[in-house]
């Protein structure tokens, strides 16, 4: 582009003299603009990654120091020791994601198409819990699900807990300190991550498409199936990713709402790193978690497609 400009004969001599010659610097501008982002990634993503990768193949102890001995067996040991927690993390995060989608889709739909002048208010209500800390929100569930509380009382009267007990999701007539409580906590804490992307992609849908579908004698259900749902898929995909990824690494919910048989991989990493001071195993587990998430997400995206992921 710049070369054509210089080679082109000047239309008016005087303006050609005034025009500054093409600056070589200009070509570098995009890179300069990229610089902050790249630096950020280098310092806060790549370097910690390299450091973690290095830690995971070290051996040693706090007193003796740690040396890189390329001890890859740590990975295998960690995986064979803690695979149940891995499986559990994926299961819990998966269940929470599905629940989030089931709860979040109707709500996002409501906000996008039916809320009218209440739209802003409802959106704020969705985000409002985020004004308090993650910890407080999770602790609130201890009160909600307390053994003697109304929720557990009602579930017991309706014999719902007999069913969940039989499924192994609760223990006896309580909900706290069971897998169900952990999944509830995860669902609640990550629900806005599902609702907001869903809302953005639903809100973008042109209302006239619905009218057109109606004009073509589509029932409301067919309109939803053939028009709304396909157009909201980018929201579904990004919403599930934004929910599943942090949920599978979470450890607060399992810690506060769970028991010994609900510990997730995040708890194991925390214990290894802070309590047992086995930094290599903690680092290896972190990498395995990343790999597991990457695998699940890749499979999911291949299945659902990312053409117009928000």
């Amino acid at each position: 582009m710049t070369t054509t400009l210089t080679e082109a004969p000047p239309p008016v001599a005087s303006t050609a003299q005034q025009r500054t010659p093409p600056r070589a610097r200009g070509r570098l501008t995009p890179y300069w603009l990229l610089l902050p982002g790249v630096l950020w990634l280098l310092v806060f993503f790549l370097m910690p990654m390299v450091y973690q990768a290095s830690t995971s193949v070290q051996t040693g102890s706090l007193e003796e120091g740690y040396q890189v001995t390329w001890h890859f067996a740590t990975y295998w040991d960690a995986l064979s020791e803690y695979w149940p927690q891995f499986v559990r993390s994926v299961l819990y995060a998966g269940s929470a994601t599905v629940l989030c989608l089931l709860l979040g889709y109707p709500l996002a739909y409501l906000i996008a198409f039916r809320a009218g002048r209440w739209r802003t208010l409802v959106l704020i209500l969705v985000i409002a819990p985020f004004f308090t800390s993650f910890l407080i929100r999770t602790l609130a569930w201890k009160t909600i699900l307390a053994d003697g509380g109304p929720v557990v009382g009602a579930l017991n009267t309706l014999h719902v807990l007999d069913v969940t007990s039989w499924l192994g999701m609760t223990a006896g007539d309580r909900v706290l300190a069971t897998p169900l409580a952990v999944v509830c906590g995860l669902t609640y804490n990550f629900l806005p991550f599902m609702i907001l992307p869903l809302y953005t992609s639903l809100e973008r849908i042109d209302g006239r498409l619905h009218e057109a579908a109606g004009d073509l004698y589509a029932t409301p259900f067919t309109t939803f199936r053939k028009v709304t749902l396909p157009l909201s898929m980018p929201g579904v995909v990004s919403g599930t990713l934004l929910t599943f990824i942090p949920a599978s690494g979470d450890y607060i919910n399992a810690d506060l709402l769970g028991s010994t048989d609900t510990r997730m991989i995040g708890n194991v990493i925390q214990t290894q790193f802070l309590r047992i001071l086995d930094y290599p195993t903690a680092a290896a587990l972190s990498f395995l978690l990343m790999a597991a998430i990457l695998l699940v997400v890749t499979l999911y995206i291949r299945k659902s497609g990312t053409e117009d992921l928000v």
């Binding site: 290095s54 102890s61 890189v68 307390a146």
Partner: protein
């Protein structure tokens, strides 16, 4: 209680003197220098290869543990403590005992409550201490086992006995000479914490709880019993209950205790292993009975008359939270003066009246009676002879034991 005799060095003082002769840091200077240069060479190797990223030994910090003591020039001291571990006036913003200290000495105290968890705090200060840098703190408060680790690693400074006359005189006999810091060369207790069995009378509904065995075995308490995620407290209490000594147990004893807890976990007897959050569960009755820290129980009882506690006949585990001066702290003398100040009966009583933990200072009872007679007669704050006899410390562990035991205990609690 041994009497303080000014003309004859106390046992503590003698132990401190012995240590300074035999365990001097000078002998280690060359080794740490070698390590430092090795570390430098590794760093020069470049970040590109993973091989260059080895973590240097955490041992003795390079460049010595002392920094220039600016106490005389800068009348300030930075004190890091746990939350709610200091007296507060009615406005909730000022700390009367600290202010009295400032008035008397002119030393300004930068008081921060930034310690929430021993393990987390260790993770936080480790990089600086390992690298031989100032943490920005002159005094930190840590639980004894972590203090033992820091002393083992050489990350805290030896205290100067000359600045601690009250501390030497007034430290209760029960807390003298712990095996991890003989003669208190590096640390002084801030408060002590006893682990007891607490219960919610309403939730118990007539079930009698008198021992740790009841928690582990009574089928009527299934799923409503809590133990502490702090390994030493839980395993120590179970060891005592089994007739072993927490202060002197073997590896087999430890495994036997874990096997006993594991059985209770497998049966669904134990609801959770908790940190401080058991207080909410006990208050609501979700936990009918649990292991609990005495200071919490005193505070809970004030709000909820259903909450009670017992000290099992087999005894209770008492750990201490101790004051330490980390390496490179810049106001060591000021820090020592502050430590000593809290060993005077008056400030110690004022503190004890407010925070309700076991006070390690002798001669506090008379002072405390003036402020709060109930507290003065509460054995959980001023231990009586009976409780002192039933208090046991968990023995200190070697670094290998610590790793192995923590790992086994982590498996027990679900990893």
């Amino acid at each position: 209680m041994e009497q303080y005799q000014p003309d004859r060095p106390s046992p503590a003082l003698r132990a401190a003197a012995r240590r300074s002769l035999s365990g001097g840091r000078a002998a280690l200077a060359r080794r740490s220098l070698l390590r430092a240069s090795a570390g430098g060479a590794l760093a020069l190797g470049g970040l590109g290869t993973l091989g260059a990223c080895g973590i240097p030994p955490a041992g003795r910090s390079r460049g010595g543990e002392r920094a220039e003591d600016r106490s005389a020039k800068e009348k300030t001291v930075a004190f890091s403590n746990w939350t709610e571990y200091m007296d507060v006036d009615d406005s909730g913003k000022r700390h009367p005992t600290l202010e009295a200290f400032t008035r008397r000495t002119g030393i300004e105290v930068e008081y921060t409550e930034d310690i929430n968890d021993n393990n987390e705090f260790f993770g936080k200060i480790k990089p600086q201490l390992a690298a031989g840098q100032d943490t920005g703190r002159d005094i930190i408060v840590l639980t004894d086992w972590l203090a033992a680790r820091l002393i083992r690693l050489g990350w805290v400074q030896k205290l100067d006995p000359a600045n601690l006359p009250h501390a030497y005189t007034n430290l209760s006999a029960q807390f003298r000479n712990p095996d991890w810091d003989p003669g208190h060369a590096y640390s002084y207790p801030w408060q002590a914490v006893s682990t007891v069995v607490a219960y919610n009378r309403k939730a118990l509904d007539g079930i009698e709880v008198t021992s740790v065995s009841d928690l582990l075995d009574n089928p009527r308490l299934k799923g409503r019993v809590g133990f502490l995620a702090e390994m030493r407290d839980t395993v120590g209490m179970v060891l005592q209950d089994m007739g072993k000594e927490a202060a002197a147990f073997t590896g087999d004893d430890y495994d036997a205790a874990l096997a006993r807890i594991q059985k209770a976990v497998d049966r669904g007897q134990i609801r959770r292993f908790t940190g401080n959050d058991y207080t909410a569960d006990l208050n609501s009755g979700d936990l009918a009975a649990c292991l609990a820290w005495a200071g919490d129980v005193v505070q809970l009882q004030a709000d909820n008359p259903d909450v009670g506690h017992i000290v099992p006949d087999s005894g209770c585990i008492t750990s201490t939270d101790v004051l330490l001066i980390p390496n490179k702290a810049r106001h060591k003398t000021n820090a020592e003066r502050l430590i000593d100040y809290y060993y005077e009966p008056e400030p110690a009583a004022e503190l004890a009246a407010y925070i309700n933990y076991v006070c390690p200072v002798d001669g506090v009872k008379a002072e405390l009676e003036k402020i709060d007679a109930d507290a003065a007669n509460n054995p959980l704050i001023i231990p009586d002879r009976d409780l002192a006899a039933k208090s046991f410390a968990f023995r200190s562990l070697t670094s290998e034991e610590e790793t192995a035991y923590e790992e086994k205990f982590a498996k027990l609690t679900g990893a």
